[in-house]
């Protein structure tokens, strides 16, 4: 087998794998964010505290930032 061809195939595999990895992490993270969001809602129904609004904003902002970062990485790679 041609060694150059082997190297090209390896780098292609690596790029595809890294994109797949980034996508998996993004999906996992967004799933976690949704779970935490649901937790906050459930907890806030039992104990009504004013600062709960800030928690929701924090988790939304962080989830959005994570999505933007990972999509940027996906596009770059």
């Amino acid at each position: 087998m041609n060694p150059d061809l082997w190297n090209v195939e390896l780098s292609t595999v690596f790029i595809v794998f890294s994109k797949f990895l980034a996508f998996c992490i993004l999906v996992l993270y967004l799933a976690f964010s949704i779970i935490v969001w649901r937790q906050i809602q459930t907890m806030a129904r039992v104990l009504r505290v004013r600062v709960v609004g800030y928690f929701k904003v924090a988790i939304l902002a962080h989830a959005a930032l994570a999505a933007i970062t990972f999509f940027a990485l996906l596009v770059m790679s």
Binding site: F14, S18, L21, A22, I25, Y29, F32, S33, I35, V36, R38, Q39, I40, T42, M43, R45, V46, L47, R48, V49, R50, V51, F55, A58, I59, H62, A66, T69, F70, L73, M76, S77
Partner: protein
């Protein structure tokens, strides 16, 4: 929730006037009652901006407790350790120095970002559990709100008139120095026993509950 700011100030004064004589007899609680406490505190007398589910009309919250912040120390140290570890070792230069070869920078960015995001979620979730696991003392009952995870929620309450005994204990160096411990509330056999675990100022809490029980019995 909207008019919590306006009404409770006078209400709080009335409550303080009601509880103060009880607490003063023991020389506890009253000197440290602030007019307003942060929602993030672990010992909140007369919380003005906190309500709970199934609160009866006219029922007044006298004290809201969470576990002492020192109980969070273990996972906080774990998170800090993971952060320091990632900063020190999960970068191309450190990796080359340790293992003698270089991996693509993109891989480190992926791994670091994933780690930071997971650390954030973990920290946030632990904080939420600390924040929402509360013990509430009202003028009628004691309430223990427990969140184990998303699916498991346990709320138990005990009316003051069925309480038979209130004790507290502090054991260990940390509990003695930082003044936190467990308050054990024993009720009649058919009722649930409520334990306030690792709450700040357990002596004052036990004293307040005893005073409330005596007041109810009179």
């Amino acid at each position: 929730m909207a008019d919590l700011d306006s009404a409770p100030d006078t209400e709080r004064e009335l409550l303080q006037a009601e509880v103060r004589p009880l607490a003063e007899t023991r020389g506890e609680l009253t000197p440290e009652i602030p007019t307003k406490s942060s929602s993030l505190a672990s010992f909140i007398p007369f919380p003005s901006d906190i309500e709970f589910k199934d609160k009866n009309p006219g029922e007044k919250i006298l004290l809201l407790l969470r576990q002492h912040p020192a109980k969070n120390l273990r996972w906080v140290i774990g998170v800090l350790f993971a952060l320091v570890f990632s900063l020190m070792f999960l970068n191309p230069l450190a990796f080359k120095a340790l293992f003698g070869f270089i991996l693509p920078l993109r891989l480190f960015i992926f791994v670091d970002l994933a780690l930071y995001l997971l650390l954030f979620i973990y920290t946030f979730e632990r904080f939420l559990f600390w924040f929402f696991n509360v013990y509430i003392v009202t003028d009628r009952r004691l309430i223990d709100i427990d969140f184990q995870n998303l699916l498991l929620r346990r709320i138990s309450d005990t009316h003051l008139y069925v309480i038979q005994d209130v004790t507290y204990h502090q054991q260990g160096l940390a509990e003695s120095i930082l003044n936190y411990g467990d308050v054990l509330v024993q009720t009649a056999a058919s009722e649930t026993n409520i334990d306030f675990v690792s709450v700040p100022k357990p002596g004052q809490v036990a004293g307040l509950i005893s005073d409330l029980i005596h007041k109810q019995r009179r």
